[in-house]
Amino acid sequence: MNLEHELRALPIAYPEAPDLAPRVLARLERPARRWWLAPALVAVAAAGALLAIPQTRAAILDFFRIGGVEVQRVETQPRAPVRAAALGREVPFEVAQRAVDFPLLAPSSSIAYVDGRMVNLRWKRYVLSQWRGEQLAFAQKQVGPGSQTVGVDVRGATGLWITGARHEIIYRDPRTGQIVAKSRRLAGNVLIWEAGGITYRLEGARTVADARAVARNLRGP
């Protein structure tokens, strides 16, 4: 055996490697904002107000959370690769229902898809995604400068209407620890709301009134 191989094969005893990630992250993050922005949004929505957040004020409202989705304003949009439509595996509705541990909200007729822990229902020009928020605690939606966000009341819960540029959801898969990007190119807009620990995301509505009407007419819990 040559010397280089022998050196490579030396079983050096290193001290146990520490998990640095939590300490590194703690030094990078500025968590203070989370505490006052979320209650502020809830208060506004609870009052039943329709609050438009003008672009000029976006800087102060750069972080809020709806269910499993963190909404962050960012200066530039992430580049998201766009591929052919893939909402997941097409399945009968009953199979989709069995794939999750909560009763699905659904329109009277739709095509159901299962995508990991997420169920997507597609009908007309709409797609409704639903997932348990806790499973997607890192879910993050990045809203670019071309987007407008509006706090709304949806089925008695706090919601957010986002219009404009495309965006994506990022979350950590709790089983593998991998960070996963779900990218969607939207011609239209998205309404996100949360109820009972479940995050709902409706795409395809043209106006906030349309989105809220669609949401109101969904059947379920």
């Binding site: 990630a21 990078l28 960012v74 989709a96 020009r125 996963v180 990218s183 395809g204």
Partner: protein
């Protein structure tokens, strides 16, 4: 009652394109550059093992190595904007970590450095030796490690990076802030000396 497959109209309003895949390193870097700390966390987790071992081989003290690696990751995040897109991330990061470790070693002054030791194979739970390692006698391995420890520091560090950490010549050059030619010449000088020591 809901969902009879195939009876829904085409979703014209939504150009749906969903991607569901693990992010590649360059994508994590681009996200981290924009302030996405969860992307950076994934980078930390991917590289913290080798970052710590690099720091330990230089600083020779576990708590100094821990601090050096941690500070290295924080500094790397702060200067990530300067990271050239498409460049290899690992040696860029390791260079920052190595600098931190060197600073600590310097400030530790004359304090005795921990000597490297070999995994005691009688102990369960440690690294499983490779088949190659099993072929070498304990005595031969101890002799070889002692010979490495006897090298001049500049050669010992090159040997550590190349053979203990498994870095390429290019990665070693960047990590230690050396020219590629210097890495090559120090490696061959070190190997010649080691050969002389252990094959006597």
């Amino acid at each position: 009652m809901v969902s009879q497959s195939g009876n829904a109209a085409s979703p014209r309003g939504v150009e749906a394109a969903v991607v569901d895949r693990p992010l590649e390193e360059h994508e994590l870097i681009e996200r981290a550059k924009r302030g996405d700390t969860s992307a950076y966390e994934a980078l930390v987790r991917a590289h913290q093992g080798i970052a710590f071992r690099t720091a330990f081989l230089i600083a020779r003290d576990p708590s100094d190595a821990d601090e050096a690696a941690q500070d290295g990751f924080v500094k790397a995040y702060r200067v990530l904007g300067r990271f050239r897109r498409g460049a290899p991330f690992r040696p860029w990061l390791l260079q920052i970590v190595a600098n931190e470790a060197r600073n600590r070693r310097r400030s530790a002054g004359r304090r005795a450095n921990l000597a490297l030791r070999l995994v005691d194979e009688a102990r369960p739970g440690d690294a499983v030796p490779s088949p190659e390692a099993a072929l070498l006698s304990d005595e031969r391995r101890a002799e070889l490690l002692a010979a490495v420890e006897g090298l001049r520091e500049e050669e010992r560090l090159v040997v550590s990076c190349r053979f203990f950490l498994g870095l390429s010549e290019d990665e070693t050059a960047q990590t230690l802030g050396l020219k590629l030619g210097t890495v090559k010449s120090r490696t061959s000088r070190a190997l010649a000396q080691l050969r002389e020591e252990v094959e006597r």
